[in-house]
Subunit: 306 residues, 2 copies
């Protein structure tokens, strides 16, 4: 069992080249910067456009990070997929690589599926990967998947697979749901990560494990400081300053807006590229976002210029 990942994780943005292929060099550089700033790496999340990547592309990017010396102990790859066999392959690969955990979407094509069916999916993956399966974090993002990770499902999975089910990412944006997950299961070692730093102080105060937040991609050090100092006198101010930055990103389509901002700080226009069905940010919106960030004193210190 690896040490449990707590703290601040980025669902790592995936850079593409002009042909829409993943740009391995920029991916590694971005991950290195994030780790240097105190963040861990939830590669292949929703904000990574992971659903737009093939299994082979995900495996190859993971291997490239490891070969570049990014520690497996910093990695929580997304390994959920519609196809059972894809989820097994991705989870097995991450487990063998020694990843600190895997973040698993439920199967997201069929709608109106039962908890029985989602339980069977996770159970099948866990049984097939077998011993050595990385700790599994359940990924609750019902507004996208339409397939919720219910509290009843968590309870069943924890009961059946207490050694493997390690926690959850709650992307519902519903604080009462994150709180219910923490209140019921955190004491037993179930690590709950809300998907936005706006919930960071209040979740840590009741036993949350950190956050896995899109904006960690740009603002890792400031969010890390909230994590470390939320209970000190400066905590509320640190939280409020991080929230200002978060809200600016939330005022635009998040993934293209984040790529736009990284592009600006990297001096690399190609960072703006997204894969269909996403579309690049309207330049006027991009200009507004960067102006607002500048007014808030936002920067990406030490970000590698490409």
């Amino acid at each position: 069992m690896t040490t449990r990942l707590h703290g601040v994780l980025a669902p790592v943005l995936t850079p593409f080249d002009a042909a829409l292929a993943p740009d391995v060099g920029r991916f590694i550089a971005h991950c290195r910067w994030l780790v240097d700033q105190g963040a861990a790496l939830a590669i292949f999340g929703t904000n990574s456009e992971a659903a737009s990547l093939s299994v082979a592309e995900r495996l190859s990017l993971t291997d490239a990070l490891l070969e570049a010396g990014i520690p497996a102990a910093k990695l929580m790859p997304g390994t959920g997929a519609s196809a059972l066999t894809d989820a097994v392959e991705l989870t097995r690969h991450a487990s063998r690589a020694g990843a600190a955990g895997v973040l698993m979407l439920p199967p997201f094509f069929y709608k109106g599926v039962s908890d029985d069916g989602v339980f069977a999916y996770y159970a099948e993956v866990i049984e097939r990967v077998g011993s050595g399966c990385a700790p599994i974090y359940l990924y609750h993002i019902p507004q996208v998947t339409q397939v919720p990770i219910t509290l009843a499902l968590i309870e069943r999975l924890l009961k059946r697979y207490p050694e493997v089910i390690a926690g959850a990412k709650d992307s519902s944006g519903d604080w009462s749901n994150s709180k219910a997950m923490i209140d019921r299961y955190a004491a037993g070692g179930f690590d709950v990560f809300p998907a936005s730093e706006v919930f960071l102080s209040r979740s840590l105060a009741i036993g949350g494990a950190g956050c896995i937040s899109a904006t960690v991609n740009m603002n890792p050090a400031a969010i890390r400081r909230v994590y470390e100092s939320w209970s000190t006198p400066e905590g509320p101010d640190l939280q409020a300053r991080a929230d200002v930055v978060r809200r600016i990103f939330e005022s635009a389509p998040m993934i293209p807006a984040m790529k736009h901002v990284v592009s600006t700080f990297a001096g690399e226009p190609r960072w703006r590229t997204v894969r269909p069905p996403l579309v690049a940010l309207d330049p006027a919106v991009g200009a507004r976002v960067t102006t607002e960030l500048a007014a808030a004193g936002f920067a990406m210190p030490g970000y590698p210029r490409h």
Copy 2:
């Protein structure tokens, strides 16, 4: 350009073995029976649990059918996927195999995507596959994907790729939408297939191309007769009789219910197996469905006993 597929197509059920792997032998036997009964084969649709299969599994099943002598001219494989690169690989493979067409879902993970983004996805696939791309049928199933194929999108795609965009499957269940697709685009050679035989007579009457319907898996000959004879004096009665069978299947979770019924006629309990997140049919519901079908005089003549 291959001859356009018109008529009656089955979104072919995918049989699994006890280890949840596709059962190639039963898949081939099922496809042979369907072709013998006058149906063509929309393999890897929603009812095929295609989203629960990996790309490699889909490619391998396609190759197995072709090696078994099923004509490529009878095939309309589903090649849509969340991941652009998967959709390209599947579409390229089907095109090279000489498939009569491909049925393409829009990318279905992200919600609230724009027509611009969905257009870019289809355009990218078409450009990458290049010359020799099989005719593409757009797959409108908004209750599952949450990403509609709008009339405006069809118009843009037809204008840009008139040689490739060949039609649509309309699984919305909304007759006014199927009718609008036919009224606007059928005269230009855009072939519209509603997803249920209950719309078959009325769609053929205004220029529809047939249907791609789940229940063709069990009831191909009767639905084929509606297709051939809808405008004869016996047409209304044929339509009404097919509708009775359809309604019985619709009274239960469709995919498990269809597998249950095929299992019964094949004498092969393993036909009932579904992949998670679907769950097998409640046996009591299965018994009710088979009783109602028997009362309606339903049978699967000549279905191969395994």
